[in-house]
């Protein structure tokens, strides 16, 4: 094989051949076994170069990461990212929670829901959505899920791929007691990112419906590595007390 042949093969592998040149190349590959073998080997070589390059780049990125981020392992809540944490207990009032804490009688599903329905999710900045999303978040923080609902509905219709919007919409339905619609929304969330969140909310929904067995079953399904696991175990024990 000549040097020109390798140059030609490189051009082919880089996708730089077209028209007649490409047709000629394919014909030569079919007729010339040695040439075809050289094409295969050159492809492997470029693949090997890329593999080694990727490994070296990864090491370089490790170094850059340490220098740029200082090895920090904690997420900053900064102005690019808004974390929304709201406890339904706030609406019912802290007094109710305090009363519940010293009450030895079996808790009611309403009280349990109030204690455990803590909504936590991250909204990443989404350009044009930011203003309208901010409005929805403020309403949810105020416990005004009724008014937040149409905003989240409109956002999730505009951006159906943003499943965090869908999750927020489902929570709005759950909080406003439109449980059929809430379940319908939760059933439509298919991202593995929210798999356990959906199960958690379905358990809360069943608690509201007083389907205790179903709720316990769902809580049992939450895996040990989920951030909801501890709450799931505690809630399960509380529900069993009602039963």
């Amino acid at each position: 094989m000549k040097q020109e042949d390798f140059q030609l093969i490189e051009k082919y592998l880089e996708g730089e051949l077209d028209g007649q040149a490409l047709t000629d190349f394919h014909e030569r590959m079919e007729k010339d076994a040695e040439f075809a073998e050289a094409v295969g080997m050159e492809k492997d070589i470029l693949g090997g170069i890329e593999l080694l390059g990727n490994e070296a780049l990864k090491k370089q990125l490790e170094k850059i990461g340490e220098e740029e981020m200082g090895g920090a392992k904690v997420i900053d809540i900064n102005n690019r990212r808004r974390k929304f944490l709201w406890a339904a207990a706030a609406v019912l009032g802290l007094a109710l929670v305090a009363k519940f804490a010293i009450d030895t009688s079996p808790p009611s599903p309403e009280k349990l829901y109030a204690e455990y329905a803590v909504h936590e999710f991250d909204f990443l900045e989404k350009g044009d959505d930011q203003k309208i999303l901010g409005e929805a978040i403020r309403k949810m923080e105020d416990g005004n899920f009724k008014d937040a609902l149409p905003i989240m509905k409109s956002l999730s219709e505009e951006k159906p791929k943003e499943q965090v919007y869908l999750l927020a919409l489902g929570i709005c339905y759950l909080e406003t007691n439109d449980l059929t619609e809430a379940l319908n929304i939760f059933d439509n969330i298919n991202s593995p990112l929210f798999e356990w969140e959906v199960i958690w909310y379905k358990a809360l929904l069943n608690l509201k419906l007083k389907n205790y067995e179903q709720s316990v079953q769902l809580l049992t399904n939450i895996p040990s590595d989920s951030s909801r696991k501890k709450d799931a175990d505690n809630l399960k024990l509380e529900i069993l007390k009602i039963k």
């Binding site: 090997g48 170069i49 780049l57 990461g65 981020m69 999710f121 991202s191 356990w196």
Partner: protein
């Protein structure tokens, strides 16, 4: 360090100049890592997994961008989408690995899986051979093929008299590598299956 626009990041990457490429990587890190970390931590991933996912995402972006392929979205959006896919793949892989029962054929095309394994194995063999080459050849090949450094710059890096001298050195190195590959027993085994 001045903030680079998307256009400048692409220019830096396509320049083939490793110093400029590093500047672009730093900018990408500063602008995007926290978002990816948040995505991963939100679903019980760890900081280290987030870092791996982010680094793999940058590598995917780099290998695309250096070829001058047109980007249809902002770099941050593209990187987020790539990392999201990498993270979902990671979750799928780690979800449930049910052992196959005897006599049950896997659903995937086993021939395709085998082919992929062979291709990956061949790449590994070649990467190892490349590591065994002299430092100069290994560096030159990486700079030219991986970083897409121009011959003009390679000439300067290696202190060569002309671009032609740089081209000749590259040809010699590639010739040496081809011989090493062709003579390698493991590589030959891969070809014969």
């Amino acid at each position: 360090m001045p903030h680079l626009s998307d256009e400048e990041i692409l220019e830096h990457i396509q320049s083939g100049n490793t110093t400029k490429q590093n500047e672009a990587f730093r900018q990408l890190y500063r602008d995007n890592f926290r978002k990816i970390e948040s995505l991963v931590l939100k679903n019980n991933g760890t900081h280290d997994i987030a870092k791996d996912i982010f680094h793999d995402g940058i590598i995917v972006f780099f290998n695309k961008a250096k070829k001058g392929i047109e980007m249809n979205s902002a770099i941050g959006t593209y990187l987020y989408a790539v990392c999201q896919n990498l993270w979902l793949n990671h979750l799928r892989k780690n979800k449930k690995q049910v052992p196959l029962q005897e006599g049950v054929e896997p659903e995937s095309d086993s021939e395709t899986i085998y082919d992929t394994l062979v291709v990956n194995e061949k790449k590994k063999i070649i990467a190892q051979l490349l590591e065994k080459m002299g430092d100069d050849c290994q560096k030159l090949i990486q700079l030219f093929y991986y970083h897409r450094m121009k011959m003009q710059n390679i000439k300067e890096v290696f202190g060569l008299g002309s671009e032609q001298a740089a081209k000749n050195k590259k040809s010699q190195c590639m010739k040496k590598l081809r011989i090493m590959v062709k003579d390698n027993a493991n590589y030959k085994n891969m070809l014969t299956g």
